[in-house]
C-alpha cells in the first residue's frame, strides 16, 4: 500500500486525520492514568525515609519531564515551520505550547506541595526550581507573543525565534542538579546507571509518564484542530463541517 504522506502536510487533510487520532490516544491515556495510580498507591510500598509524601513523585516527575520534552518538541516544530515555511508545523508548535505550560506549572505546584513537608519550605530559589520557573515564563512568553501579532505567519516566525532561543534553558534544567549545589535532589533515573528506586515505584512513574504522553498527544491534536479551523476560516479557506461540528470535507465545499 502506498501512502502519500505529503497529503497530510495540508492542514485541511490533517484536520480529518487528527480527529480520528484524538480518541486513539485519549482512551489509552485514561486507562494508563488509572493503572499508574493503582500501582502508585496500592502496589508501591511506603518510602522508609519520606513515608507516603513521596507518592507525589508519580505526578511530579512525569509533569516535569513533559514540561521539558514538550518544549523541545514545540521549538522543533516552530523551527521546521519557520525554516521550511510549513504552516502545519507552526500550528503544531502553537498547539503544543499551552499543554507544555500546563505541565510545567503542574510540576512547580506539586513540587511545592512536596517541598513543604520534606524540606520545610514551599519554595527556594535553587537552580532547578528557578530554571523551571524560567521555562514556564518562556511558554507564557511564546503564547503571549503569538497572541499579540495579528498576522498568523508573522506570529509563527516571532514565536519560533523565541522558542529556539529558549531551548538553551532545557539542558540547564536537566543538569542543574549536577552543576549547582541544589536543595532539589539529584536524578533518580539516569541513562547508564541503575535506578535507585524500588521496581513498583519506578513502574508507576513510567506508566504515569506514558499516560501523560498519550494525554498530551490527544489534547494537542484537539487544539490543533481548533487552530486549523480558525486559521483556515479566517484566511478565507473555510473547512466545512456538518452541524455536529465533527465531520468535514473539502469536497463538500466546492
Amino acid at each position: 500500500m502506498k501512502i502519500n504522506w505529503y497529503k497530510y502536510a495540508s492542514p485541511a487533510n490533517f484536520y480529518r486525520v487528527a480527529g480520528k487520532l484524538v480518541l486513539v490516544f485519549g482512551v489509552p491515556a485514561a486507562i494508563l492514568f488509572m493503572l499508574g495510580l493503582y500501582v502508585g498507591f496500592f502496589v508501591a510500598p511506603t518510602d522508609f525515609q519520606q513515608g507516603d509524601a513521596y507518592r507525589i513523585i508519580f505526578i511530579h516527575v512525569p509533569a516535569a519531564w513533559m514540561g521539558m520534552m514538550l518544549y523541545i518538541l514545540m521549538a522543533t516544530y516552530a523551527g521546521i515551520g519557520w525554516a521550511f515555511n510549513a504552516r502545519l508545523a507552526s500550528m503544531m508548535a502553537t498547539a503544543i505550547s499551552p499543554t507544555g505550560a500546563m505541565f510545567t506549572f503542574l510540576s512547580l505546584a506539586t513540587g511545592s506541595l512536596w517541598g513543604k513537608p520534606t524540606w520545610g519550605t514551599w519554595w527556594v530559589w535553587d537552580a532547578r526550581m528557578t530554571s523551571t520557573l524560567i521555562l514556564l515564563f518562556l511558554y507564557i512568553g511564546f503564547i503571549s507573543l503569538q497572541a499579540s501579532i495579528d498576522d498568523p505567519r508573522r506570529a509563527d516566525r516571532a514565536g519560533a525565534v523565541l522558542a529556539l532561543v529558549g531551548v538553551i534553558n532545557v539542558p540547564i534544567i536537566y543538569f542543574s542538579v549536577q552543576w549547582w549545589n541544589t536543595l532539589h535532589q539529584g536524578a533518580t533515573i539516569r541513562l547508564l546507571n541503575k535506578p535507585t528506586m524500588a521496581p513498583p515505584m519506578l513502574a508507576a512513574m513510567f506508566i504515569m509518564l506514558g499516560a501523560c504522553w498519550l494525554y498530551s498527544v490527544a489534547v494537542v491534536l484537539l487544539r490543533l484542530r481548533c487552530i486549523i479551523l480558525e486559521r483556515e476560516h479566517e484566511a478565507g479557506r473555510p473547512i466545512l463541517m456538518n452541524t455536529k461540528g465533527v465531520q468535514l470535507s473539502r469536497v463538500e465545499l466546492t
Partner: protein, 56 residues
C-alpha cells in the same frame, strides 16, 4: 486494607491529595476548555456559510 489509614497518607494527606487534585483540575480543565472552544468555533464556522470569510 484500612481506608481511613489510606486516605490519611501517613499524615501527608493535604500534600499528596492536594497534588493529585491540582493535576485533575488542570488536565480536566484543559479538556473541558478545548471542548468549549471547539463548540463555539463550530457554531461560528457553520453559521458563516461556505466560501465566505467572517466579517471582522
Amino acid at each position: 486494607m484500612n481506608w481511613t489509614e489510606f486516605f490519611s497518607m501517613g499524615g501527608y494527606a493535604f500534600y499528596v491529595w492536594g497534588s493529585y487534585l491540582i493535576a485533575l483540575l488542570l488536565l480536566g480543565g484543559e479538556v473541558l476548555a478545548l471542548r468549549q472552544r471547539k463548540k463555539s468555533l463550530a457554531a461560528r464556522v457553520n453559521n458563516s456559510g461556505p466560501g465566505q470569510s467572517e466579517q471582522s
